[in-house]
Symmetry: C2
Subunit: 414 residues, 2 copies
């Protein structure tokens, strides 16, 4: 394998090892479903080889290509935007039932469709989400071990570093990814073990508190987020229902849980722009009443944001609340990645849409009314956006109204 | 889209147009399942765009990579070689049931696994064929319109032109592909229409003859191939069961039919080497008795050939007999492509293994005993090898024993 890449490929080796050993933690004989853009082959090939070395069964790649997605948006007839490869997604759901592990390498420019008709983009995304739902549910319910990591695609790099030439931009994005993914150290697997211990400590403390709600305050935000009945905090390494402990996201800096879909109130202002389906949405301000967004505006990309809210009833309610200190390395890097995998780890955030049932006691089997009764939200979408800033203060509110400091001045209070 | 390729990409545009309009003949609103190696993206992207322009629904790519296949052969544990992504192939079968068109772009080096353990390669191929069978059956039964074409991958090019440097080899393979695929002309779609008329004329003549058998003679070959009861000759454009007329292979020079699995006798010598699962098999000589190969040798790669024959009972019997004149452009080019898509169009050939039920009257629904009663062969494999040469003489033998000249001196007798 030879790559002429403008960055140190030894770090790709390290990232591949961390993805397989820590991210996926593939078990002896387990098959792996491996996806990503063809452009990410330098990492995808290394991940496959590491997986085989770790004793994987077969590694089955299904590679995509940004230009093919673009061709569809440019050229497909309107009616064709409602189509989706249900047969492929049903197959993927079957793979998860057969205990395949899932690995995705993100490399595409999240803004690749920025110049396309947002209505067409949204229409295609909606059809795709619908068809993907059976497979997505198994990921959301954490039925198998899975992991998403990133490769510095060139178009993405030029989006993130518009002032650099293509090679320099790719090198800069590579460095940012390696640093955020904690592989720019001697022993990434050991570094991840340490990081997971720290996230587990925060998670266990929050679980012990059993807060009824969190109260967020910062400039433009005064939001009370009720937590779901029997909510569980998660963060870092976690055990999938197949018994394998994995790290679903590389990087990850968050501890997160399931809010109560009916008990969110107040106003929130986004602290960072949100890249959604190729549109940059900035200056988001919303008002929640009884869990539902009743007012929404944005200074840029407002229509795309309103379209998102109109996806379905659940898109106006929360499915996740997550705590990330302002001191986190991704926050300190100051880089806007235009990619949730990174940007959600730069600040406290909330997610509109579907909740993770793993963040509910005995949540795995819950759907429909039973899930709703606990406060769990359902939607075709799950979109994180940042509300944390350097002045964020968070109180935990116990059932009896007692307040406990959780964040002060943007960071953990303790 | 920018490509820095050592050949004229205007010919890729023409090839893409021919693949979509003539090869696939995608119908209004029809979805397309598009596969190939990531390396073939310059052609795959053009095919997708042409398909959309032709009114396709969605084009869903599933890209592969030669190095990932190689990694498996090098690193997977032995037991893992028996695994296959059945969920993916079941999905593909479902796509065909839903009337998706199928397009594949071949670009990999057929000899890529030449240095791997042949037993491991065969084991993995067998598991894959088994899992792929439900989808393959729908292709073999011609239930949907499909087409395979080729892109000049670099490793493949270096295999075909070992004396040239990589760029020159790729340019030479590109030229050979464009010429063989009849796109190096002003109007490839018109050229294909003309070519299809010529193939149809040969096909119709053979169908009118209703031969009972063909008798092949050339140096080392004296072989009588009985034809299946109610056999039909095919060649060039043909109508799939979904009603769409397509060209499954680009290039194609053959007219072919289904032999009778019990009525083949005599001896045959291969006139060209056969590339099978990464092994070059040369100097094949076999003896048929009552349709079954009872003696087999090869001067090179004999073990791989014997392994092929041992795949299953059907691998020792014929599933196809095909007529290609020695004057065909691919034959005249003198290039050994190591790829059946091309090499089978250089000479008359026979195929071991599974037959095409489209080459039997009312053959579509036939399986098992009913198919066998007509002489149709079943197997996990279908492997073509060349027996035609410049001295090939073929007689058609009617049911009453009358002989009609079909080939003389390597070419059509008329
Ligand atoms: Zn989150
Ligand atoms: Zn989230
Ligand atoms: Zn053939
Ligand atoms: Zn054949």
């Amino acid at each position: 394998m030879s790559d002429a890449l403008p960055f140190d490929t030894a770090l790709l080796d390290k990232l591949a090892e961390a993805v397989v050993r820590t991210g996926l933690n593939v078990s002896e004989g387990q098959n792996v479903f491996l996806t990503g853009s063809a452009e990410a082959l330098p990492l995808i090939r290394r991940v496959a080889r590491e997986a085989y070395k770790a004793g994987a069964g077969i590694v089955v790649p299904v590679l995509s290509d940004e230009d093919l997605t673009r061709a569809r948006m440019e050229l497909a007839r309107d009616e064709a935007l409602d189509a989706a490869p249900a047969w492929l997604y049903q197959g993927v759901a079957q793979a998860f039932e057969d205990n395949w592990a899932r690995c995705h390498i993100a490399a595409d420019n999240p803004m690749a469709l920025a110049d396309q008709d947002p209505a067409r983009v949204a229409r295609a995304a909606r059809a795709n989400s619908k068809a993907y739902k059976p497979a997505m549910a198994k990921i959301a319910n954490f039925e198998i071990n899975w992991s998403i990591a990133a490769y510095p695609g060139r178009a993405w790099a030029e989006q993130v570093f518009p002032d650099l030439d293509a090679d320099a931009a790719q090198a800069a994005l590579a460095q940012a990814i390696f640093k955020a993914s904690r592989v720019d150290v001697e022993d990434p697997v050991a570094a991840w073990a340490e990081h997971n211990v720290e996230l587990a400590r925060r998670r266990d403390w929050l679980n012990a508190q059993r807060f009824d709600a969190l109260h967020f305050r910062s400039e433009g935000t005064d939001l009370t987020v009720g937590l779901a009945d029997g909510h569980l905090w998660a963060g870092g390494a976690a055990e999938a229902k197949n018994g394998i402990v994995c790290n679903p996201n590389m990087p990850t800096e968050e501890v997160f849980t399931t809010p109560h879909k009916m008990r969110v109130s107040g106003r929130a202002r986004a602290s960072k722009p949100l890249a959604y389906q190729g549109t940059l949405i900035d200056g988001i301000e919303v008002v929640f009443e009884d869990g539902r967004i009743t007012e929404a505006r944005a200074s840029r990309g407002e229509q795309a944001f309103l379209n998102l809210l109109d996806t379905d009833e659940g898109a106006r309610r929360l499915g996740e609340v997550a705590l990330v200190p302002h001191a986190s390395p991704i926050s300190q890097s100051g880089v806007l990645f235009y990619n949730t995998l990174f940007d959600e780890n730069a600040a406290c955030h909330i997610a509109l849409g579907n909740c993770y049932t793993e963040c509910l006691e005995d949540g795995g089997a819950l759907t429909g009314d039973a899930l709703a009764a606990r406060g769990g939200n359902e939607s075709l979408v799950h979109v994180d956006w940042m509300i944390g800033a350097k002045d964020t203060e968070i109180d935990g509110i116990a059932a009896d109204g007692t307040r406990v400091p959780v964040f002060r001045g943007g960071n953990w209070a303790d």
